[in-house]
Amino acid sequence: MTLELSHLHRRFADFRALDDVSLSIAPGEFVALLGPSGSGKTTLLRILAGLDFPDAGDVRRDGRDLLSVSARERGVGLVFQHYALFRHMTVFENIAFGLRVRPRAKRPSRAEIAERVEKLLKRVQLDGLGNRYPAQLSGGQRQRVALARALAIEPDLLLLDEPFGALDAQVRVTLRRWLRHLHEELGLTTVFVTHDQEEALELADRVVVMNQGRIEQVGTPDEVYQQPGTPFVFEFIGRVNKIPVKFAGGRVQAGDQRFDADPLDGIGDGSGVAYVRPEHLAFTTTSLDSGWKATLGHVFFAGSVAHVEIEVPALGLTLDAELGGDEAQRRGLAAGMSVTVQPRHLTVFAHDPKTGQLDPSRRRVVHPRYGQAALARMR
């Protein structure tokens, strides 16, 4: 089943929930809608479910108009953040609900319903719990009941609204691996909403990053992490250092450092911002000519990784660097050490001279050319 969303707009009073959103979803794809609250991701999901309607725009399923089909007739499986289980019904009755409310002509027989519910209970690993009431289940179990209930109507599209939002960290990780396996088994086109980047990156085939009702970037988890297209995506996904820069003569100037790089065509002179991931900051205790002179601040050992604060006077900033925990131990890193810092690569955005905002269309990735000798000494 292919979904084609084009130019969706939705306003609530003064609030723009969706602002010209277009997206296409391929059959069997697992798509994450990722964004902060108020970014429009839930509105988009609700429109797909038929619980909300756009002011303008068009949604097509396999080429046919979806918006004119009522939620009741869409045959879309929907799982809510807080499960929305019918608490006066047993687990069995909850799962059977979608089958029992069908018009008589389309309703399976009692025995068939029982058989299908049992099969689903097994699928979500809840066999034997059919007679329990939702109040007698744990959070993870309830979420699986909600999923089984949605799957019972044999949907061709599965929608999940913050499916793991209400669970504790451990259950969350187990359940999301399980969901990924289930998706591989069923091959069901799935769209889920989350504000948790880790969840989106780990689960989805494709991540749709949303902000203020617009789509910022669509890409594989690797793409949105490694090559963020906009300043927002940089700041929203993963941790990042934000360094003010100047563009002059096709070069990037940051503090006292000028980075020799491929010509920055089409950017012109002006100011901007460079983004560097913590793991892309290299530093050495050897004093080098190129690179910022800096002092180590606190070193945080967090298990397999170590986070290092680096105070750079030339920038007036404290940068975050990240390296393996073992390596940090081996190098004997401690607060107060003098170091030279070199970013391995930076992504720069130039300010739009008219609006003063960073302009995503004026984005360049800069790979500074340091002397070979210097590089060799870096890890």
């Binding site: 479910a49 038929g50 619980l51 939620a71 009741r72 007739e73 869409r74 045959g75 879309v76 499986g77 929907l78 809510f80 807080h82 929305a84 019918f86 608490r87 006066h88 019904m89 047993t90 609900f97 979608g98 409310v101 069908r102 009431y133 109040a135 007698q136 209930r149 949605a150 019972a152 109507i153």
Partner: protein
Amino acid sequence: MARRVLPGFGLSLGYAIAYLGLIVLLPLAALALKAAGLGFSGLWAAVTTPRVFAALKLSFGAAVLSAFINAGVGLLIAWVLVRYRFPGKRLFDALVDLPFALPTAVAGIALTALYAPNGWLGRWLEPLGLKVAFTQTGVLVAMVFVGFPFVVRTLQPVLETLDRDLEEAAESLGATRVQTFLRVLFPLLLPALLTGFALALARAVGEYGSVIFIAGNKPFESEIMPLLIVQQLEQYKYGEAAAIGVVMLGISFAILLGIGLLQRWSRRWAER
């Protein structure tokens, strides 16, 4: 015994039981004792007259009917008050409690003035062949009036906790609006609805002040049980009055117990 956050379990339980005994059980025991003074045959004679039967039928028949009406209308009003926003909502919400606050005699006089053959409503209903004041219908109207707030007030908090999610989930699973109401919402509201029903019923059975003004109090026709008791008292027949009271009490208790059991069944899903 397990340790509790707040101390004083023994003291507060003891106080609660003593208070309940003093306020509720003691007068009831006195009532039963008084009635027992008649002896069994006297008791039997006092409560098996045709007039008592007629009043019994009216009192409980009208009270049950009024509780059903209040359950239906109260559900609707609670729904409107919780689910919709409209100008004057707060005022409307405050009006619901008015039957609680009004002295019942005032309510009775107001209703009588309204429904009397020359009253504001009565004069339009009379030509249609609908007599309200001084008939059994009048009794019903007064009972509906005094019992009305109970259902609204017991349903409101429960309705507020019902998530929209539930309706949306039902809809996306293919349920029609009627199915969503009957299979999802109504069962969840039923326990509170039964509580409201029981309270409205109890109030209607015991109502005296507003009913006697509008009922006309014709023997065998529009005479309610509490009035019968008052009449016995006025003739200094305390034993007979107590006997009728005990009968009312017995029936009321049986009905409330029945509703209580039904309610427990209706919320079996909430038990662990």
